[in-house]
């Protein structure tokens, strides 16, 4: 396909030239994947073929005439963000109007009103902008073949981000459906820079291969550490020491995005920034726990060019094209080289201009990580783990939603599912197990023959009770959030501020103050699952902990860091204060080095702590944590919990670990794998996600928890029951598979032990320099054992004494 004259004219009027990659996508014969940093007209590139196909053509008499009249859906655009669909609708509206095209563009997300949704099912627009969840929902309606039957093109935006989660698996199953409903539909993927373009192409491919379009990446980014007057603190700190330099950099740039890894840190940094913002530079805050209204306001101000900077978490990793961003500041270690490169790309909205980025390590350990990451960026050495096969819980949901649309034939559905990239290797046995689960629950005890969800009749599987479709559709999607409570200003219709995790809310009592949306508020009451607050800056606030947003450092980066710490020659690349810090660690304890496994025992906050520096990645160290605490439980040390980071494992207990050698014996650890791994909190958390996605338990509906509290019970109970009475059940297998991906197999621990033949243990009087950052990490895993029993008794006794009672 070539670019028609009216498009050339339009480009001329803008003073633009079509980019080579835009023309390349236009010329593509089949499915294609464009891999390019943000900017450079990537979205327009994705839509250009659709606009050309929908544009009028020059007839034999020289006049423009419409191609055969276009009715119905031509192009489906899928993005991971609802906000992005609205943004695209606006951005696309301009060229469409200027080109005089008669094209209807609408979005369709969870926020779309029911009247418009109904209309879209009967009379779809030419271009529909949506999310993977809304697509899955639309495909579950009986009208799906009519809506999508004439579909010509699909644009998948931010495909690299979708491919990182189960949302991508669900989308690919939906895509397989679309390809079946409309043979010949052409699919274009748009992605940021990734380490393995071939793998991403395989992920989105149907029967035919995908053409990869990779334009010249442009000039190398201008990226460096942000020099600061004050040294980075020993630990934690969230980068506040660099506030003056960050403000100065914001002042010099036009628009800056300041990325921070966690929501809590973003809140704190935002507050500290404003405390020093004497010039009142307009600076906003954006993260996923803020109320939608709040986020929309910041996005609008940013789009209008009214903000000089936004403090953001991963919530701004994607989308919203703000042409003016010319500086990215990353506060805290980037954890992952690929993500750093993608974030740097956010300051690249002028084609072929170098992106500018500055990095602010939050503490001295992170300085090492930042230097290692910069070296990796310069070497264009991207990290990333290969994607696993499509998870079966997503397939279970897909089967149920397919039945909502129409009765289906199992053989035909299986044939369709294996055309989806992630499910190419799916066995028929696994498919049948998922079908059995969807139909009967898949239990060894065939209890539900009368109440099957799906029945086989006349060779087709169908819903036993068509009314079940409503419940199934309410459960659509693969994102399972932690239980969140809304936070609102007190009074009728008080302004929504955002959400906090239920576990954090449970730790609040009326009168406590905490930080949200950049302000300190006091908790007044908790009613109907809403926390009512009033502004109150008089107290030191508690910090809300949002456990769901922790980034994991890539193993590649962890190994770079280990090599740097262990090799004094490389210390010269580090700032002086970091060299001093490592020097102090060498004096009070010692430095870990390749071939040596260092561990430390020290008291802190009334409990004993045991740290082990394995540099094996968060997942392997988490597995080690689960196994090690089991051994400690057996030794009667009363372990209470642990946390793992990419470089170390920290366990806290009532009694100290004095000699770790027998505890970290590979054979002994392996012996504990079976039961203990099955009983721990990580597995239960994984099970909950799997069970919700597969439709074993219903997602909590808004308001459903409001009154029927006795009726709801923890998914942990289901997990324990299944383990005891039906250990071979599909959901347990899927949980183990998923945890296996998260927890990583035992091989990595054995590899770590084999890699470190020398062991050294230090007993210290207090926290060591290297251990200090661990104490500030989130993501603690509680251990339910004798230690917790003792602690419960201590706590209850203290309350009894306080009450003047004797237990």
């Amino acid at each position: 396909m070539i670019l028609p004259q009216i498009f050339h004219d339009w480009f001329d009027r803008q003073g633009w030239q079509p980019h080579p990659h835009q023309l390349a996508l236009l010329a593509a014969k089949g499915d294609s994947l464009l891999i390019a940093p943000t900017g450079g007209g990537k979205t327009l590139a994705g839509f250009l073929p659709s606009l050309v196909e929908l544009a009028p053509v020059e007839g034999p008499d020289g006049y423009l005439e419409n191609r055969e009249e276009r009715r119905g859906l031509h192009t489906l655009y899928v993005s991971p963000l609802k906000a992005l669909t609205a943004d695209i609708a606006r951005n696309l509206g301009r060229p469409v109007a200027e080109l005089g095209l008669d094209i209807r563009i609408e979005d369709r997300t969870g926020d779309t009103g029911s009247a418009q949704r109904r209309r879209q099912r009967v009379d779809p627009p030419h271009v529909l902008l949506t999310t993977p969840e809304s697509l899955a929902l639309m495909l579950s309606y009986p009208e799906a073949p009519a809506i999508f039957g004439g579909l010509r093109r699909v644009v998948l935006d931010e495909l690299h981000a979708l491919a990182e989660s189960k949302r991508g698996d669900q989308l690919m199953l939906g895509l397989a459906r679309l390809r079946a409903l409309s043979p010949g539909v052409r699919v274009t993927g748009l992605s940021a820079t990734v380490e393995d373009p071939q793998a991403l192409a395989g992920f989105m491919a149907g029967a035919a291969p995908v053409e990869i379009v990779e334009p010249d990446p442009g000039p190398d980014p201008d990226i460096a550490m942000l020099p600061t007057a004050a040294p980075a603190p020993w630990a934690g700190g969230g980068g506040h020491y660099a506030i003056p330099e960050v403000l100065a950099a914001v002042r010099e740039a036009r628009t800056t995005i300041i990325f921070i890894n966690t929501r809590a840190q973003a809140e704190l940094f935002f507050q500290a920034l404003w405390a020093a913002n004497d010039e009142n530079l307009p600076i906003g805050l954006h993260h996923g726990s803020l109320a939608r209204e709040q986020r929309a306001r910041v996005e609008a101000a940013m789009a209008a060019g009214e903000l000089r900077a936004v403090v953001a978490t991963g919530s701004l990793d994607l989308g919203i094209d703000w042409g003016a961003v010319d500086l990215v500041i990353q506060v805290g270690a980037p954890k992952n080289v690929k993500r750093l490169v993608q974030r740097i790309g956010r300051a690249n909205h002028r084609y072929n201009a170098p992106s500018k980025a500055r990095i602010v390590p939050a503490n001295r350990f992170e300085q090492i990580e930042c230097v290692a990451a910069l070296q990796a960026v310069t070497a264009r050495d991207l990290d990333g783990d290969p994607r696993g096969p499509g998870p079966l819980d997503v397939l279970c949901q897909h089967i149920l939603l397919t039945a909502c649309a129409a009765p289906f034939d199992a053989d035909a559905l299986f044939a369709e599912v294996v055309t989806a990239g992630p499910y190419r290797g799916l066995s028929r046995a696994d498919f049948d197990a998922c079908l059995d689960f969807a139909a009967t629950g898949g239990y060894a005890l065939r209890a539900y023959d009368r109440w099957q969800r799906l029945m086989l009749r006349d060779g087709l599987w169908r819903l036993r009770d068509p009314r079940a479709a409503r419940l199934l559709r309410m459960n659509v999607g693969t994102i399972v959030e932690a239980e969140m409570l809304k936070v609102r200003m007190r009074g009728r219709g008080g302004a929504p501020l955002g959400e906090v995790e239920e576990a954090f809310a449970a730790s609040l009592t009326p009168g406590d103050s905490f930080l949200i949306g950049g302000r300190v508020v006091r908790m007044d009451s908790l009613r109907d699952m809403v926390i009512q607050v009033t502004p109150d800056a008089s107290q030191q606030p508690k910090i809300a902990v949002f456990s769901g947003v922790k980034l994991a450092m890539s193993t590649q980066l962890a190994h770079r860091v280990q090599a740097m710490i262990g090799d004094p020659v490389q210390h010269t690349a580090l700032p002086k204060d970091t060299r001093d810090w490592l020097g102090l660690q060498a004096r009070v304890s010692r430095l870990p080095e390749p071939g040596l496994l260092l561990s430390e025992t020290f008291p802190h906050a009334g409990l004993w702590h045991f740290a082990i520096y394995g540099f094996a990645g968060r997942n392997a160290l988490q597995t080690l944590g689960l196994l090690l605490t089991r051994e400690m439980e057996e030794e009667g040390l009363g372990p209470l919990g642990f946390l793992s980071t990419d470089y170390a494992l920290l366990v806290w207990s009532l009694d100290p670990v004095r000699d770790p050698a027998p505890l970290i014996d590979a054979a002994r650890l392996r012996a504990g794998l079976g039961d203990w791994l099955g009983e721990n909190a990580v597995m239960k958390r994984t099970f909950r996600n799997v069970a919700v996605v597969a439709g074993l338990i219903q997602r909590n509906m808004p308001g459903a928890r409001k009154s029927g509290r006795q009726a709801t019970f923890s998914s942990d109970i289901l997990y324990d029951t299944l383990r005891k009475y039906d250990p071979d059940h599909l959901m347990l297998r899927v949980t183990a598979d998923e945890a296996g991906r998260g927890l990583v197999d035992f091989g990595r621990i054995e590899e770590m032990l084999a890699r470190s033949p020398r062991r050294e243990h230090r007993v210290l009087e207090r926290v060591s320099p290297l251990a200090a950052p661990l104490l500030l990490e989130v993501g603690r895993v509680p251990i339910r054992g004798e230690g917790r029993e003792r602690l419960a008794q201590i706590e209850a006794d203290a309350l009894m004494r306080e009450a003047g009672l004797v237990a």
Binding site: G441, R709, Q710, I717, T721, H729
Partner: protein
């Protein structure tokens, strides 16, 4: 493991399992078994939960019966998740129940989920029962009484545990059934019934804590 106390002249023991033991009469009292819950949810078009909660509940009840050899077992209401669940009860669960009831008095007190007598089940059905001056009923009423219904729970050392609530007029039992949630004891409904007293948290060892104090839970590194 149990915690012994006096309630209006009755010497009682709160068991870590969530059952109440009256040693003088050798009565074992449990509340809210909710047998047949998974079947009822499936019947009503809900999710197909693991259909093992009956076995799980009776395994735990069976362990208490084996340990204590009670003369009478009292279900304080909501023994079944609804009356239809009685008819649909899994054969294995029904057999198990019959075996447990063998040789002892078994009383089904009616609850809001199972107001009528469970036909075909062992034992007898009553609306309420008296132990001295104390009434045994499903939902707390005119005290002194022993009841269930609310599935009380407490937060202790960072986790949620089922709990007995012991006040001046009311003793409220935790739910014994496997698939049952809990209502935290500071909920207004429970705080009105037991404004002051003790909570006895279930677990390997029952843990006693005060109720109705302004005391704040201890915070810190967990």
């Amino acid at each position: 493991m149990s915690y012994g106390f006096d309630f209006h002249g009755l010497q009682l023991q709160a068991r870590g399992s969530g059952a109440l033991w009256w040693p003088d009469g050798r009565w074992l009292i449990v509340a809210d078994l909710h047998l047949g819950k998974s079947e009822r949810m499936a019947r009503r078009g809900g999710p197909l939960l693991p259909p093992y909660e009956g076995l799980a509940t009776l395994d735990r009840l069976g362990a208490e019966i084996a340990a204590l050899d009670p003369v009478a077992v009292v279900s304080l209401g909501d023994g079944f998740d609804d009356m239809a669940a009685v008819q649909a009860l899994d054969a294995q669960v029904a057999l198990r129940l019959a075996a447990l009831a063998q040789g002892r008095d078994w009383v089904w007190i009616g609850g809001n989920h199972d107001p009528a007598a469970p036909l075909g089940m062992p034992g007898r059905a009553l609306d309420s029962l008296s132990l001295g001056q104390v009434a045994l009923r499903h939902q707390a009423g005119q005290g002194p009484d022993i009841s269930g219904h609310y599935h009380p729970a407490v937060r202790l050392a960072g986790e949620r545990r089922r709990a007995f609530l012991l006040g001046a007029d009311h003793l409220i039992l935790p739910a014994f059934g496997a698939y049952t949630g809990g209502l935290i004891c500071d909920d207004p409904v429970l705080a009105a019934l037991v404004p002051r007293g003790l909570a006895i948290a279930c677990g390997t060892r029952p843990v006693v804590m005060p109720l109705g104090l302004a005391a704040r839970p201890r915070r810190g590194w967990r």
